[in-house]
Symmetry: C2
Subunit: 572 residues, 2 copies
């Protein structure tokens, strides 16, 4: 079972149970299954322990190593971007270091493939059911060879995120297929659906309605709205204490039953959702981090990120109601059997990708596709500009927090110290009329030192929450190029089919079908955009209010401290 691997980078052990390795060092692995991104093995000095999977390359003859696949955002499926042809913009082009408060080394990030249940890298032995999942032929990639004509076989992992529903339909289209088999339009199932290749049985419970609202198409509201709290992140251990993880207590309001979930569960769920919903912006879960995962700041930041994520999940009319999310929220943490059943069911879900569009019901009146195009273009420009400004606000707030913690604190504390120093001089005069002033100046010194500390504590109260919000929206903004790409792909097919009809190469009926299906995709896309705007206005309003309230409290606290100091002079 022992495998050999080569270290790609230096890694210095930071915690008990970890081993250090040098670049190019050969490591013996006990398993190629990583455990939350960690591999167990021994280094050339015979030390045994854990090391980050992303730091090593497993040595084998048929290697297509997917370990060193980095992304700035957590949980973007490998197949989520066009690998061969960047036809749409990836908006966020700023270096990660300028936009995240605690930038992680790129090597320490993302190395798993949420879209790939078969790889099961992130599942550990407590419910490692990868062997049974591997029995499913559709999962190992063999079933999709027909899609891989122009892609290297090494991409088999990523292409497993292609629509499973698509393969079940017979191709009857005469409209040409996209040459780029790795475009989002293709991978999301958008193309297959538009070309009429998707088919499946849609249960009533699976129906997703787009309705015409005051501002245009919108998702039908969730008739049973709920929220879910995330509390008490607690450290748990396994492997005789060698490895630890954090467990979160989730309590949805509609069941009031607490369930315990780990980050990897969120991660798994996220992968399911991305696979299932081609034109829905699934909120990103907080980023992975290899080191310092048990530090208080990190745990607190991740919890805040998960709370925001949960908030976006429960307030999304489609995501909140979907089976896999409900399974995640309601399945007892102790009932392993039920969990596994639900997990397998979700992984076998047929109404994903192309078939997802089958579940959408729209208003009877079709959209004006020209109007749709202009609205989509407008939204594309909006997201581009918002992404730029979010990056800028993020960088500014990050710097603002840093300045408050360092420079501002220092200045106020220096003022405090110099008043204290003055007081020390004045203390040398102990005449009765001096004593009151001496005490008042001493207190003033302390007040300024306290104000210095206020500046250190403040960013946690206002800047951090605002930056958490920005991080979530940065995730959404990276989703939209793909969503827009799917809609635009569908629109292109409509235009092509019209041309074919004009040229007599296609039946009008077939073109009508394409237009109808493009209409469905457009309704869904516009509903999602509407949801995005409404959520954005709601979130930014409440967070700006929170930010300002906290800033006001902060300055009031300073004022209060200074007023206390001023009062001391009354008796001086």
């Amino acid at each position: 079972m022992a495998l050999r691997a080569r270290a790609l980078y230096d890694f210095n052990s930071e915690n008990p149970g970890e081993i250090s390795v040098k670049e190019h060092e050969i490591i013996t692995l006990y398993s190629e299954q990583d455990i939350e991104g960690w591999l167990e093995g021994s280094n050339s000095r015979g030390e045994r322990g854990l090391l980050p999977a992303s730091y090593v390359e497993i040595l084998r003859t048929d290697t297509f190593s997917s370990f060193n696949n980095n992304s700035r955002y957590a949980n973007i499926p490998t197949g989520g971007f066009d690998l061969k042809n960047q036809t749409h913009e990836s908006y966020s082009t700023a270096p990660a270091s300028s936009i995240t408060a605690y930038p992680a080394l790129p090597q320490q990030q993302q190395h798993h493939h949420p879209g790939t249940p078969a790889s099961d890298d992130d599942w550990d032995d407590d419910w490692d059911d990868h062997s049974s999942v591997a029995d499913e032929p559709r999962v190992v990639g063999g079933g999709y060879r027909n899609y891989e004509g122009n892609g290297p076989s090494g991409y088999s992992i990523s292409t497993s995120s292609m629509p499973r529903g698509a393969q079940q339909a017979k191709s009857s289209a005469t409209v040409s297929r996209n040459l780029n088999r790795f475009s989002t339009f293709v991978k999301s199932g958008g193309e297959a659906f538009v070309l009429g290749e998707a088919s499946g049985f849609v249960k009533d419970g699976d129906k997703i309605c787009v309705v015409m609202g005051q501002y245009g198409p919108e998702w039908q509201e969730n008739p049973y709205p709920f929220t879910c709290t995330i509390d008490d992140p607690t450290k748990q251990t396994k492997f005789k204490g060698m490895k630890s993880y954090i467990s979160y207590k989730l309590t949805p309001t509609h069941t009031q039953n607490q369930v315990n979930r780990r980050y990897k569960h969120f991660d798994w769920l996220y992968a399911r959702l991305v696979e299932k919903f081609p034109v829905i912006s699934v909120p990103h879960i907080p980023e992975k981090q290899a080191t310092g995962r048990f530090e208080e700041d990190f745990i607190s930041k991740r919890r805040r990120g998960l709370i925001w994520w949960m908030n976006h999940m429960t307030s999304h009319p489609v995501l909140a109601r979907c089976d896999v999310f409900q399974h995640f929220l309601t399945c007892s943490s102790t009932d392993e059997k039920s969990w596994k059943q639900g997990k397998r069911k979700a992984e076998k879900d047929e109404m994903v990708g192309a078939n997802f569009f089958l579940t959408i019901s729209t208003p009877a009146a079709p959209l004006d596709l020209q109007d749709v195009e202009s609205r989509i273009d407008g939204f594309k420009a909006f997201t581009k500009k918002m992404d730029d400004s979010v990056i800028q606000v993020n960088a500014t707030l990050n710097e603002f927090a840093r300045k408050q913690i360092a420079g501002f604190k220092k200045e106020y504390q220096k003022v405090g110290l110099s008043f204290k120093y003055l007081n020390q001089a004045f203390e040398m005069d102990q005449q009765s009329y001096s004593v009151g002033l001496n005490q008042a100046i001493a207190y003033t010194g302390e007040a300024y030192e306290a104000i210095g500390d206020f500046f250190v504590e403040q960013p946690k109260q206002d800047v951090d929450p605002l930056m958490d919000l920005l991080a979530l929206y940065q995730g959404h903004l990276t989703n939209y190029p793909d969503i827009i790409h799917v809609q635009k792909g569908a629109l292109t097919k409509v235009k092509e089919s019209q041309k074919h009809v004009e040229e007599g190469k296609m039946e009008g009926q077939q073109a009508d079908g394409i237009r109808e299906r493009c209409n469905i995709i457009s309704f869904a896309t516009l509903a999602e955009i509407q949801h995005f705007h409404q959520t954005r206005v709601r979130d930014f309003k409440s967070q700006m209010q929170h930010y300002l309230q906290q800033q006001i409290s902060f300055f009031q606290k300073i004022t209060g401290k200074l007023e206390e100091a001023l009062q001391k002079y009354d008796d001086a």
Copy 2:
């Protein structure tokens, strides 16, 4: 009449009417009389105009140039420090740049000799009476040759600040004279007085009483207390507009008559007071400044300095009542004749230096000189420590102001700008539910920009006044080494005389006289120290209160601005 001079430094003309010169350049002067520190002449390129007197050395055969005599503090008479022998500490050793907000080039400072009416450098022709003053034999220095046995003749100017009363007394002492003829003890007249060499007719009106107060010896309170406002600094011109000066309106409360005074009048008065009162800490007038004298900031700063100075003058029981100050406050600015009479009277005042001590009347019970010595030592340590801390507070506040004006402003404005940038992105969505948020975010951006401006304006309100106070006290603290030196000199004479009596070299009666006169000096010194402490407690109390009140208003202003911004979200 034309004289030649050599430039000591490069000087670049900054204002109309000035001429530039290079180091070593030969200049033709039209007069060696400077006008408020400026000489009129022409440079080697034939340009005619003004240049700073301190930048040139007048070329003549008998030169002992006193022009290049610099001091960090304005108005410290050249003779105010021991030139040959630094027997007492000069407390303020920090470089000027670290303790003044607007450090002047040392070359541009002080080049006149307030203790020297004969030089009359600072008097211009509108009442230039130097020829008549020069008629007085005591002024030109010749009368003091007996004091100059061990000093170079070049010091004649500075030694003219020696007690005029002293020369009128016959030396009858057997206690040895100090070898150092330039020690403050000698120059102030302290030695002459202790040795019984001072004599003069003390009018009742000149009597100065030290009384025993709650906390020890103190000056008898001024029975007619008054204050004096300084308003409306206005620019006046002369020399056909080539030279300008600032005139201040002074209104004392006891006369309610406004008089106009220029800086040079303050300067002249200051010199008289320093000469007259050996153990009184005469507040320093604000520093001279060669360039930028008509800039608003400078005028405002000088006026604030003069107000503080006036406040210390009027609240000092001895200084407030003295004739020369009353003349300065009450003589009509338009009645040149009265002014000149008063001016001459002050310059001829005999009750200065040694004779000043003759005017002091003390309580009957003599002081315990051992106790006095310990109190003086305690005060010496106090002033040393206070001086250190004042330098430190000054440097800190200066830096604090600088940071607020630059760094803090920048951070808040950057936050404001980034919110505005976010608003620009959000403006691209004009749906009705977005408009309120957009406006609110735009306003928030403006609010943060305004807060940035608040930080720029704030130091004027709080830091500057506190620094003005510190500057005044720095002046007092440089006075005290001399005052302490006089008292210690007297005490040493007592000890010497006791020894002489024990050795049979001196009559007991003579020693008693020395002890009695030392008692007078000690009463006066302790009264002055008491006054210093009481004034210090009063001033620092009120200024710390003012500082804190301003800081509170500042943070309340910020809070108010943020509350305005927060309200905008109510309708969003």
